[in-house]
C-alpha cells in the first residue's frame, strides 16, 4: 500500500472518529448552541431589534445580526470541539494511539480540523435554519458565503488545536474562550456596524480578525460589509497559513505531547 493511500485511510479514520464523537454527545455538541442562538434571536433580534428598526443597507436589525450570530456559533463550536477533543485525548493519553502510529503530523492536524470544521458547519446550518423562523434571508453571494464560513471555522479550529496542545489542565482550554474569544466576538461587529464607532475604536476594531470573518459572511448573505471583502479573505487566508504553520511546528517538536 502506498503512503498516500495509507494517509488517506488514516485521515478518513480520524475524521470519522471525530464525527462519531460529535454525534455520540449531540446533546453537548449540537443542542446547546441552537438554544443559545434561539435566545439571541428572541431577545436581541425580536424584542430589542424591533425597536431599533433598520440598521444598515435597509435591513432589519434581526436580518443584520443573523450572519454575525451564525458566524459566532461556527467560531465558538469549531474552537470548542477541537480544544476539548484533542485535550481530552491528551488527558486520557489516547493521543498516544496516534503518536505511535505512522500517521504524519499533517494528517493528525487535518483530521482534527476537519472534525471541528464539520461541527462548526453543522451548528451553523442549524442556527441558520432557526433564524429562518424569525426572519427571511436570501443569500446574495453563495460562494463567498461558503468560503467565509469555511475559513472562519478553519481558523478557529487551528487556534483551538494550538490551545489544546499547550493546555495542561481543563481550565486552560476554558481560559481562551472566556477571556479572548468571547470579547473579540462581541467586539467583532456581530451586533453592530463598526462604522457606528468613532476613532480610535474603529481603527482598533479593524485589528480584530473576527471582524473580517463576520463581515465576509455578512457580505455573502446580505451583500453589505464594513471591510473590503478582498482584504477580509487575505486576512483569513493569512491566519489559516500562520496557525497551520504554528500547529505543525508544535506537533513536529512534540510540545506537550512527547517527552
Amino acid at each position: 500500500m502506498s503512503n498516500a493511500t495509507a494517509n488517506l485511510v488514516a485521515l478518513h479514520t480520524l475524521v470519522r472518529r471525530e464525527i462519531m464523537r460529535i454525534l455520540r454527545i449531540w446533546t453537548q455538541t449540537l443542542i446547546p448552541p441552537a438554544i443559545t442562538m434561539t435566545l439571541y434571536f428572541v431577545i436581541f433580534g425580536k424584542l430589542i431589534g424591533s425597536r431599533i428598526g433598520s440598521i444598515e443597507g435597509g435591513f432589519s436589525y434581526m436580518q443584520y445580526i443573523v450572519p454575525g450570530l451564525v458566524m459566532m456559533s461556527i467560531i465558538t463550536n469549531s474552537y470548542g470541539n477541537i480544544s476539548s477533543s484533542f485535550f481530552g485525548a491528551k488527558f486520557s493519553r489516547a493521543v498516544e494511539e496516534m503518536l505511535v502510529s505512522p500517521m504524519p503530523n499533517w494528517v493528525i492536524l487535518l483530521g482534527y480540523v476537519t472534525g471541528a470544521v464539520t461541527r462548526g458547519l453543522v451548528v451553523g446550518v442549524l442556527v441558520l435554519l432557526i433564524a429562518l423562523f424569525f426572519t427571511s434571508l436570501h443569500v446574495v453571494h453563495p460562494v463567498i458565503t461558503f468560503f467565509s464560513v469555511l475559513l472562519g471555522a478553519t481558523i478557529f479550529s487551528l487556534a483551538g488545536f494550538v490551545n489544546a496542545v499547550y493546555a495542561k489542565k481543563f481550565d486552560d482550554i476554558a481560559l481562551v474562550p472566556t477571556f479572548v474569544l468571547t470579547p473579540l466576538t462581541y467586539l467583532g461587529g456581530v451586533f453592530y456596524s463598526v462604522n457606528m464607532l468613532g476613532e480610535p475604536w474603529q481603527a482598533i476594531s479593524r485589528a480584530n480578525p473576527i471582524l473580517y470573518m463576520v463581515n465576509a459572511f455578512r457580505f455573502g448573505v446580505l451583500g453589505i460589509s464594513d471591510v473590503n471583502i478582498g482584504v477580509a479573505f487575505v486576512v483569513m487566508l493569512a491566519f489559516v497559513a500562520g496557525l497551520s504553520f504554528v500547529a505543525l511546528q508544535l506537533l513536529g517538536r512534540g510540545v506537550g505531547l512527547r517527552s
Binding site: M1, N3, T5, A6, N7, V9, A10, H12, T13, L14, R16, R17, M20, R24, G88, A89, S92, R93, A94, E96, E97, M98, L99, V100, S101, P102, M103, P104, G254, R258, S259
Partner: protein, 320 residues
C-alpha cells in the same frame, strides 16, 4: 514454556539495534546513559530493571513517544530517528498505562488503531474480530471500554497493538495488577504470536514470567545496561540457591553439613542455603539420618529474582 528460537539466516537483519541511546529530560534527569543492545528476529526478549531504571524511557524512544537526546535505534534496519513513520509500521506497543478512550467500544478502538496505520476498514474489522476473540473480549466488543475490568483493559491493549500485525511487539509491564488466570492466558497468546515469528520485547516486575518466557535478557539500572545475555547463561551464574523445606517436624537442633546452611523457620519449616555444586542427595540423606521427614520443597525466591537483585545491588555498590 520457552519456545525454541525460530531459525534465522546468519545475515538476518536484527529486529532491534539500539545504538548508544541517551536521554536527558528537561529537568536534568539523565534517564539513559548510552544504552546499546541488539534483539534478534523471533526472539522473546526480557528488558528488566527496577522502577526508574530507564525501561519506559527506552520503550518511549522506540515507539517515538520520547525524543532521544542522542543515539539511534533501528527496527529491522529502519531508523526510528530518520524514518520514523516506516519504523512505526513495524512496531506494536502495549504501554504500561491504560491509554485508550474509555468511552469508545473495544471494536472501534481496534478498528480505529488499524486505520491510523493505513489499514482499510474492512480488513481492520476482520482483524479486530480475530484478535478480540483470541483474547476473549469479543463478547465485550460493543460495550464501552470503561465497563471492562482491569484485566480486560490490558488484553484490549494487546489486541489493539496487534492490529497492524507488527514484526516487533513491545509489552511494557502488560500484566501489572492482572490475576494469575488472565496472566496465563495473556502469556499463552503472546507465546503463540512469538512462535509465529513476531519478535517480542517484554518488561515486567514478575520475574518468574521473564524466566519462563524469555530466551534473552537485558537488565537496565540507572540508565545503563548492567547485564545482557541469554537467560540460560544468566541463570547458570547463580552460585547459591535457597530452598524452603516443608517437614513433618523440625528438630530443635539442626544437623550440620559442609557447604549447606540450615535454618529452622518454624516447627514445620526449614530453610537450606547451598551452593549449586552441592547435591541435594547428601542434604536429604543427612536430614533423613536425623529423623527429619521432608514432605515438599521449593525455591525460596525465583532464581532470576535472586540474580536480578544481586546485579542491581552490585551496580549500586559500584556507583557508591
Amino acid at each position: 514454556m520457552v519456545q525454541p528460537m525460530p531459525q534465522q539466516s546468519a545475515t538476518a537483519t536484527p529486529a532491534l539495534v539500539v545504538d548508544n541511546l541517551r536521554k536527558t529530560y528537561g529537568n536534568g534527569v539523565e534517564a539513559l546513559k548510552g544504552v546499546s543492545l541488539t534483539v534478534q528476529p523471533g526472539d522473546f526478549f526480557a528488558l528488566l530493571g527496577p522502577n526508574g531504571a530507564g525501561k519506559s524511557t527506552l520503550i518511549g524512544i522506540l515507539s517515538s513517544l520520547v525524543n532521544s537526546t542522542s543515539g539511534d535505534a533501528r527496527v529491522f534496519g529502519v531508523s526510528v530517528n530518520k524514518q520514523r513513520n516506516d519504523a512505526m509500521r513495524l512496531i506494536g506497543l502495549v504501554p504500561q498505562e491504560i491509554n485508550f478512550n474509555q468511552f469508545e467500544k473495544p471494536f472501534d478502538i481496534c478498528v480505529n488503531e488499524a486505520g491510523f496505520y493505513g489499514i482499510p476498514r474492512k480488513i481492520a474489522a476482520q482483524r479486530a474480530e480475530k484478535y478480540l476473540k483470541e483474547l476473549r473480549l469479543w463478547d465485550k466488543a460493543q460495550h464501552q471500554a470503561r465497563m471492562l475490568s482491569g484485566g480486560m483493559k490490558r488484553r484490549l491493549m494487546i489486541a489493539r497493538a496487534m492490529m497492524n500485525e507488527p514484526k516487533l511487539l513491545i509489552l511494557d509491564e502488560p500484566t501489572a495488577g492482572v490475576d494469575i488466570e488472565i496472566r496465563r492466558s495473556m502469556w499463552q497468546f503472546v507465546s503463540g504470536i512469538n512462535a509465529a515469528g513476531t519478535t517480542v520485547i517484554l518488561t515486567t516486575h514478575y520475574l518468574e514470567e521473564a524466566e519462563q518466557l524469555c530466551r534473552n535478557i537485558a537488565i537496565i539500572d540507572h540508565g545503563t545496561i548492567v547485564e545482557n545475555t541469554t537467560m540460560k547463561r544468566l541463570l547458570a551464574t547463580l552460585d547459591v540457591e535457597a530452598f524452603i523445606l516443608d517437614v513433618v517436624a523440625a528438630p530443635a537442633s539442626l544437623p550440620t553439613l559442609p557447604g549447606v546452611t540450615l535454618r529452622r523457620v518454624d516447627d514445620y519449616t526449614l530453610e537450606a542455603e547451598m551452593s549449586r555444586e552441592h547435591d541435594l542427595n547428601s542434604l536429604f540423606a543427612t536430614l533423613s539420618a536425623h529423623g527429619v521427614t521432608v514432605k515438599s520443597m521449593r525455591n525460596k525466591t525465583n532464581r532470576l529474582e535472586e540474580l536480578f537483585v544481586r546485579l542491581v545491588e552490585n551496580g549500586r555498590d559500584k556507583a557508591a
